[in-house]
Symmetry: C2
Subunit: 167 residues, 2 copies
């Protein structure tokens, strides 16, 4: 309990600055997307990942990982996108459990319509307010944070040996 390494004053400032920027920035970006294109950022992200994939199609599990969403979330999201006619689900060949999600032409059109406003917002609110040095730093920082989070999974995997509790 008392062995918690609480944050120093300086650390608190850093933490609040980072966290506030995250919240405000992502709220801004998401808001812009909803207002101008009628979809949340998570859906845009899905369309982008699909558009970049070979044949504009991906296995659901791959799409989930690429678009940073849980499988459950993706499943719901794809159902919604399918209603819009922006994607279609096809059975995956080779594995009868699996499904492939494919971007339709309508979906691509919707994506193309949404992209300019989105990129403009990102440029104005991110690239235009930071120096080149800060942008370089931000890239490395982002990578370090992501790497630190992924390590979580590896640890969990290592614990599968599970010598402490009966599995």
């Amino acid at each position: 309990m008392s062995d918690v390494r609480w944050l120093t004053e300086t650390e608190q400032q850093t933490w609040r600055a980072y966290m506030t920027a995250n919240v405000e920035f992502s709220a801004y970006i998401d808001r812009q997307m909803r207002r101008d294109s009628g979809m949340p950022m998570a859906y845009y992200e899905i369309l982008v990942r699909l558009s970049e994939a070979d044949g504009r199609r991906l296995r659901m599990s791959e799409l989930a990982e690429a678009s940073l969403s849980s499988r459950s979330r993706l499943s719901h999201a794809v159902s919604a996108l399918e209603k819009n006619g922006w994607v279609v689900r096809r059975p995956a060949d080779g594995d009868r459990r699996g499904w492939v999600c494919e971007l339709t032409d309508e979906g691509f059109t919707a994506l193309a319509a949404a992209a300019p406003g989105h990129v403009t917002a990102v440029r104005e609110k991110l690239f235009d307010v930071l120096t080149p040095e800060q942008l370089d730093a931000l890239r490395d920082i982002g990578r370090a944070i992501s790497a630190g989070l992924r390590q979580e999974c590896e640890e969990a995997r290592a614990e599968d040996v599970c010598d402490e509790e009966p599995c």
Copy 2:
């Protein structure tokens, strides 16, 4: 349309690194909070702001700004927190439109119980994976991004003069 300043390859890398880290990190933090303390980060944030305020109480509008949520969101959130007995709403004196939200002892206890796990997660996944230089940079970056977003409001305010369209 074609005058969009699209992102260069390098910029795309930076943008993806930043955005991925944001999504993954905040998902991790939120998940930790929900799992270990049964509330979303947004609620924790509200409790924290209240606990830091004079008399552990704030006007709804002030609390909304402090906790980075919209008024609507705060209203719903406070209703939920009130059901838990963690906060109470009292009429604000002096302005019969307003309400003051006050942290109860139970709320403070819940906050105190949630804090260690939260701080530990933040330290492990943020402070422990970045160098001191990166943390300094991150603080400045965060401030710059927030400042850039706030500028939005000022512009909107400046346009209130409204010489282009009839208001």
